[in-house]
Point group: C2
Chain length 585, copies 2
Amino acid sequence: MGDENKNLTRRQVIVGAGAATMSLGAVTLGASKAEAAGKWDHESDIVVVGSGAGASTAALIAHDNGDSVTVLEKAPIPGGTSAKSAGVLWVPNNFALRSRGIEDKKEDCVRFMARYSYPEKFNAAQPHLGIGQKALSMLEAFYDNASPTIERLQKMGALEVAEWRMFALDRPATDYLDHVLENKVPAGRTLGPLKADGKTVGAGVDLMIHLNGALKKKAIPLLLGHRVTKVVINGTGRVVGVEAEVGGKTVTVRARKAVIFGTGGYAHNPELVALYQRVPIYGACAHPWSTGDFINIGGAAGARMGYLAGAWRTQIILEEALQNPNLAAGVFFPPGDSMLQVNRYGRRVVDEKRNYNDRTEVHAQFNPTEAEYPNHLMFMVYDQRTAEGFAGAYPLPEKATGAPYVISADTIEGLATKLGERLKEIGPKTGGFSLAGDFVANLKATIARYNGFAKTGKDEDFCRGKHAYDTEWHAVFSPMHPGSKFPKNAAPNPTMYPVASKGPYYAIILGSGALDTNGGPMIDAKGRVLNTKDQPIQGLYGAGNCIASPSRYAYWGAGHTLGNAIAWGAIAANAAHGEAPVEAE
Amino acid sequence: MGDENKNLTRRQVIVGAGAATMSLGAVTLGASKAEAAGKWDHESDIVVVGSGAGASTAALIAHDNGDSVTVLEKAPIPGGTSAKSAGVLWVPNNFALRSRGIEDKKEDCVRFMARYSYPEKFNAAQPHLGIGQKALSMLEAFYDNASPTIERLQKMGALEVAEWRMFALDRPATDYLDHVLENKVPAGRTLGPLKADGKTVGAGVDLMIHLNGALKKKAIPLLLGHRVTKVVINGTGRVVGVEAEVGGKTVTVRARKAVIFGTGGYAHNPELVALYQRVPIYGACAHPWSTGDFINIGGAAGARMGYLAGAWRTQIILEEALQNPNLAAGVFFPPGDSMLQVNRYGRRVVDEKRNYNDRTEVHAQFNPTEAEYPNHLMFMVYDQRTAEGFAGAYPLPEKATGAPYVISADTIEGLATKLGERLKEIGPKTGGFSLAGDFVANLKATIARYNGFAKTGKDEDFCRGKHAYDTEWHAVFSPMHPGSKFPKNAAPNPTMYPVASKGPYYAIILGSGALDTNGGPMIDAKGRVLNTKDQPIQGLYGAGNCIASPSRYAYWGAGHTLGNAIAWGAIAANAAHGEAPVEAE
């Protein structure tokens, strides 16, 4: 606290006299409905906004701390995007690792996270690993809280989890940057929620059955259809509640200790996407209510914004997303081995088997000479082998041409012609994105070069299949069908196989998409929302996709988003527990 | 105005009763020194913050409109970054074009700006060119105001300009994206300030001698050493003045109509750079007081933020910037023809002759497989021909090894060894950035490929020298010395010449730098700062590098920044003139 806040504290004695005051969108007490009516519609120690994994964890931990809690959810159903997710939780030093005798030391894990999140600054020999004390403290807070929170939730009877294993491979999950020196535990940091049977690992819906169910069991009020529109701030600048819209009426909810936001990103807010993303997020797995409310509400309360251009990225089937941007799934793992992706010049630009978050960044790569985004849309090109041998692995339909988004032709020339026609059709929605004049010639050369790499097993351009991430997730999500008439891939690199010299050929148009975005108000290591002077806005906390991610642009491994949401939800609830309650004004 | 503001207006009757109120960092009247003291230290219709081209134009236009004006500048000298600049002004449809009978139609020019600023959405066949009504209205406002503002300033006796011609080439300046279909006037949109002689075109210092001189001539108070710390907001949410710090004391300045910010970006604020840029801005041409104050002050007032990751980019000599980030110049035009740039893998990644803003974007390109920025630092590699034949063209010293940042060796292997050593030395400041193991082999292959392109004149990878921008700015800024002992470049592509097969070879380490950043509070087409509901914050305006650039990430041509600063300064002043004055409270 600087001098300024002391001044405010001195002034606070004359607060509450009923004088109406300014409002920047946040509402001050004097201008709030609560103050006007002389009472609040609801009140509790802690008010939680949202009901996904981060919000629900915050509510449950707060309740366990002895605080009274009210949960407000704008959707008519609880669970948020978490309920639509795979439910995986990235939790370093978790009980499953420990039970196998694997030490995931704090020092090592923090070094890995710092390396992945701050590649341009990370330097293990420097103080604070070269990333600065504040950034480092966020990584440490996550490590310190992730596993203990899971265990606490289990002890409270609010969650049951087990190690999340790689399906058919039946081994611990490989991290998304497994091969760097700094990753000392490259597999096994993932947990998953148990299904109702108490044995099988389930998905996001199971996770939220646990967490939302626990809210009910513990009689924590969860008010659906309550769209929070602003925070209420008293004369000392402290957040003391929120206003919410319920069926066109304003409801006020008092928070004696704190308001914790655990709402969504802005993936389904077209205006914010247009403003903050360099190329559109055409579709997102986030539930449709993810419209970035906390960016507007927190911004109105004077929060410092961070990483507004960020997102948890994935490629998506463009033509499906144009029909409906609320996606069931992204193209997380492009299937097939005789498959590659090219841009409008017919050129490869990325390791097609890299993890979805990092891989999808290439869509926004800028070409300075033409002042364009040449990878804005990408084309997944493959042959009959991949179409049949890997059929049914999303986005490949069971029958080669069994989906309207699959384009096919007997020759590369024919494929390019049809692609060009399809692009023209959707041009009004894609800035008229088109194939370059030399697309066919380049694509042929690209395939020839790719085929050479497939034969030697070494992708000299993009290292496809070089690291365990590529090979293992390929094996899990797109193993070749055992009975296929096509030869097995006996090559040294199981992710690459030469594309056939004869057609038919297939193409799917891929766009940039997201699980959700991850920029918004900045928080500190206690989950407190910071103002533009980097001081906490008293009584205001955040966790999950609505805040500037403490991991910045990095996605440490499967379950990264939910692992972070839960840890930061708990961090916020625990810090809020220590707030001195504000008496009624 | 929504319903909410109506409510506030009704409440406004009880404002001013002296009750202190909340503060989010912006200060409300009741908590301000002015209110406490019962008077303001200064007052005028319009308060302008900053004294560069945008701020000074706003002040001059406001004065010309009949408004009283106070200008506050935190530095001990006036003129801001504008005074350090080249002073060029990008002004479409300017008098020089018209005098040559060249029509720079609004429709055409707006189409070009939309194409350059929104490559992923631009579609001429769509309503609002596919970029949306709001974005389009900003481009239209710029076009409508740029040339008329220059003419008005000239008529007022506040500025003298002439066509800015390309020095030795003595022709109108070529735009930074001259070759796209949408650019109907690819040269001639640039003006420059006249020197005191009234004849010769000068630089930024001359521009500011005009504009700052006019402030004096018109007796507009310019208060130096006044660091504005916050805006003062009254009970209706209207900005009514500012607080400034002067030698440790707080001074209050009342604005009856409006406050207009024309301050700097955040290029010299290391914390904001670390937060918002993906790779560091190691140095900037901005004057050292460019610390992004309006991001914090506007954010505290509830402004919506835009393009926080943006900057007017240029490559810089890394080792100079590490000594002193306040640069005299950037590496705007890498000189030489037997010269190329490579990344840590020894690979070219960009047309080395492309304009500085677009070219420098490659430094932040992300490699998904290694989760790294492989172009974070780039290496400008050249031979004796370039070292001597183009000596003295920044950053080449007059003597080949006449600067400590030039690394030289007889062989490519030797050059790599020395580069590696130098990188190790500066590693603590660059995240330990190093050369990849195959740097030497790749660099040799890269040079061989480059030499092949030089012979045919066709850069098949990056189109170097294909477009007029490359060749003309190359000819202006790095013509070969006439008396050089090296053969003239008679190749079909004057920007490329084979790198010698024998040493010595030279290298300079380049980093990402900027003129200044260009993200911050969003404005509308009247220059009004918008809140997080996209409604104007009453009485608050912005122009120049301190706001979210209306051109987004694009740099339309030489003089882009100043042309925009002046147009938006005028737009703000003219809109502010129409504000109903607020009476003393």
